[in-house]
């Protein structure tokens, strides 16, 4: 029929596509340009390697199939998958159909999008029926995903989410145009099918139904094209930008780019890659226990993107990393928070010039080359029980150790870094490194998870093996240097945030120890899914009552099966729970359990 294969209604679509690609190119180039030197070096080093292949594979898995969302929530996963995978297949299969039809791969670029309109139904081409069926099938898949999305907007509980994310005006335009695209396409194709009998199982049936009304065809195709155009134009300013950004994020991450202390182009990529799926809302203890529901990663990221971020939102976060664990895109929102917390440093300041590592350290030992350095950390100094037990354990194992911060301890610097005082944190780190290096030791043992995390991930020039005391005690038991008596006591073990998420996952060592000492009870939330005790130093703005609410939530999990002891391996968690438990099980550090037994 229409052999020119052109109609003015393709113009809005074409215009939208051009604008979209210009926008994407500008954004991508700006982000890459803003990468730091080290980040660019990483990209250069790994761009031609197996990592690139791995990234492509991950893109297929995550951007199209959304495997991670599936794992968390099958219905939500199907919604994302059917929209993303279904739509991209529609484009790909459509392109093949159009190319087969016209006999050339380089046909009009819009032919694939508006194929049914331009198709001459009398023209026979290979696999015609198959193509028609596939296209209808894919359209049905996308429409089913869309239906779920619409339902989710109104009944978010269905997806297991308590609260759908809020939207800005441009989000709304993009959302409405997105919702219109596929129903319009369905109607447009059906109308054509009604006249020309070129539809598949879906479009033909609907077309036959509509045929008696003799509706005009062109206006619907115009509407379809305009919906596409609107979506493409507004998309870069909305959450839908995540569709393309996630691809870039996966590549950069596979090439070894990581968040740094200051804002870089990579931060912007992470921010733009959030799909606002809302998974982070329901895992956040602030939401579930303290009813604070405007500060979770999704809102934090949205507020930054909309340029309305407030100090409270930046600071109201425990940095417990539960949301980072759950995020299907793998956005390190807590690192970004730390970046946004950065406080100005002033020049010529001699931070902590009063500290003298030489005057710090053990008062009781002149030993300069022990095997083990024990660093209790500030918090352990508030829980003498832990320190005493550790000393006894060292003694029982006959360990050659020096208690390196027995007298006048220096903070590890992580609390400062979490609050954005970078220069100050670096000063403390340097002092501690100086202290450790003044000994000639093999292992650095700490009983504070905050210090452990800091030594492991933030200290770059530490030439010593770092162990958390759970790891160390477990090693002693395995080496047969420490005897543990099995008792009939039951334990509920609380995994401290700092050693149970991201790269620090100390799960098995404490469990081995406790199984040797008694019976370990299974919990509803444990390991990477453990709840925060609420006292995290990452959050400075919570009120005492809010902290207590969060603590009680964690304690409910721990006390459910009436254990004899709540066991933890963090002095801060221990103190927190102790304050909360008037009667009921006793709270003990894992080191105290060993000594007790």
């Amino acid at each position: 029929m229409d052999t020119t294969m052109y109609n003015p209604f393709v113009m809005p679509f074409a215009f939208g596509v051009v604008i979209l690609f210009l926008n994407l190119i500008i954004s991508f180039v700006t982000w890459l340009y803003n990468l730091s030197k080290t980040q660019r070096k990483q990209v250069g080093r790994h761009i031609i390697s197996w990592r690139t292949l791995a990234a492509i594979w991950e893109c297929l898995r995550e951007c199209l199939l959304h495997r991670n969302i599936f794992k968390r929530n099958p219905v939500l996963g199907y919604m994302h998958c059917s929209l993303a995978f279904g739509w991209s297949l529609l484009i790909i299969v459509g392109k093949f159909e159009a190319s087969t039809y016209s006999g050339s791969f380089f046909t009009n670029p819009w032919l694939a999008i508006f194929f049914r309109y331009f198709e001459d139904p009398s023209r026979i081409f290979p696999h015609k029926e198959l193509f028609t069926f596939l296209m209808d099938f894919l359209l049905a898949v996308v429409l089913s995903g869309l239906l779920l999305a619409v339902i989710k907007r109104f009944y978010s509980r269905l997806m297991g989410l308590k609260k759908a994310t809020r939207h800005t005006p441009s989000d709304r335009i993009a959302l409405i145009s997105l919702w219109c695209i596929f129903p319009l396409r369905l109607v447009a194709e059906s109308l054509v099918a009604g006249y020309r009998n070129n539809g598949g199982f879906l479009t033909q049936s609907l077309g036959n139904l509509l045929a008696p009304f003799n509706l005009p065809i062109d206006p619907i195709w115009w509407a379809y094209s305009i919906a596409l155009c609107l979506f493409f134009i507004f998309m870069p300013f909305t959450r839908y930008m995540h569709i393309f950004t996630e691809i870039l994020l996966i590549f950069l991450r596979k090439w070894g780019v990581v968040e740094e202390d200051k804002k870089t182009g990579y931060t912007d990529v992470e921010l733009a890659a959030c799909s606002r799926c809302g998974i982070c809302i329901d895992v956040c203890p602030l939401n579930t226990a303290a009813k604070i529901n405007d500060t979770q990663s999704v809102y934090f990221i949205r507020d930054i993107r909309d340029n309305v971020i407030s100090h409270r939102i930046i600071n109201d976060c425990l940095l417990c990393n539960r949301c980072v664990e759950a995020c299907p895109v793998g956005i390190k929102s807590t690192k970004i928070r730390q970046i946004y917390r950065e406080k100005k440093s002033f020049e010529n300041k001699q931070y902590y010039d009063y500290l003298n590592p030489a005057a710090t350290g053990s008062t009781t030992s002149g030993n300069k080359s022990p095997k083990v350095l024990y660093f209790a950390g500030c918090m352990s100094h508030l829980t003498p029980g832990i320190i005493d037990s550790m000393k006894k354990i060292f003694k029982a194992a006959g360990e050659d150790f020096v208690f390196v911060d027995e007298d006048k301890n220096i903070c590890c610097g992580r609390p400062l870094r979490q609050q954005g005082f970078l220069d100050q944190a670096n000063t403390l780190m340097a002092k501690n490194v100086q202290l450790f290096n003044s000994y000639n030791a093999e292992i650095l043992v700490t009983s504070c998870p905050i210090c452990y995390n800091s030594f492991k991930t933030e200290y770059k020039d530490l030439n010593i093996k770092v162990m958390h005391h759970t790891q160390y005690i477990n090693m002693l038991i395995e080496e047969g240097r420490l005897q543990v008596n099995h008792s009939d006591k039951t334990f509920a073990y609380h995994d401290p945030c700092e050693i149970s998420r991201e790269e620090n996952r100390i799960f098995e060592e404490p469990r081995n120890i406790l199984r040797a000492a008694g019976t370990l009870l299974p919990l509803t939330n444990e390991k990477a899914d453990a709840l925060c005790c609420g006292s995290s130093l990452g959050n400075t703005v919570l009120s005492t009552e809010q902290i207590e609410d969060i603590r009680n939530q964690a304690m409910d999990v721990l006390t459910k099966d009436n254990p004899d002891y709540i066991v933890t391996s963090c002095p801060l968690c221990k103190k927190t729970f102790k304050k909360g438990l008037r009667n009921g099980p006793e709270v003990k550090d894992i080191a105290e359990i060993i000594i007790m037994g």
Binding site: K349, C378, L382, C411, G413, P415, F421, T540, T544
Partner: protein, 113 residues
């Protein structure tokens, strides 16, 4: 002259007229628990920084209350934000937040002048 180990004291009057109280209300708004401090000194006795040098939140509170912002700025930089004070405070004063906010307010103020 025989020294008896004591001497006439130089007068140490507090000149409230030269003090500047402008930041107090702001701090109270930001950290309401600041008002709850009873000056027991628990925080200072456990303080990590205090083991190494003369530093006391108690004194910082006093300086802040009296509007001595110039001395205070140097003083506040000594805190390591370790959080020990937070755990011992019997009045649940949010000491860390108080110190951070004091630090920012005072730095801002001193820079403007």
């Amino acid at each position: 002259m025989i020294k008896f180990g004591y001497a006439p004291v130089v007068s140490r009057t507090l000149d409230l007229d030269s003090s500047d109280f402008s930041l107090r209300d702001e701090l109270i708004r930001e950290v309401p628990s600041y008002k709850k401090c009873i000056g027991c000194g628990g925080c200072t006795s456990t303080c990590s920084a205090h083991q190494h040098t003369e530093f006391s939140i108690l004194r910082c509170n006093m300086l802040f209350r009296r509007g001595k912002y110039d001395v205070l700025e140097k003083e506040l930089d000594k805190c390591m934000l370790c959080g020990k004070c937070l755990l011992v405070c019997p009045r649940n004063v949010n000491t860390r937040d108080m110190i951070i906010k004091m630090r920012l307010l005072v730095q801002h103020k001193n820079k403007k002048q």
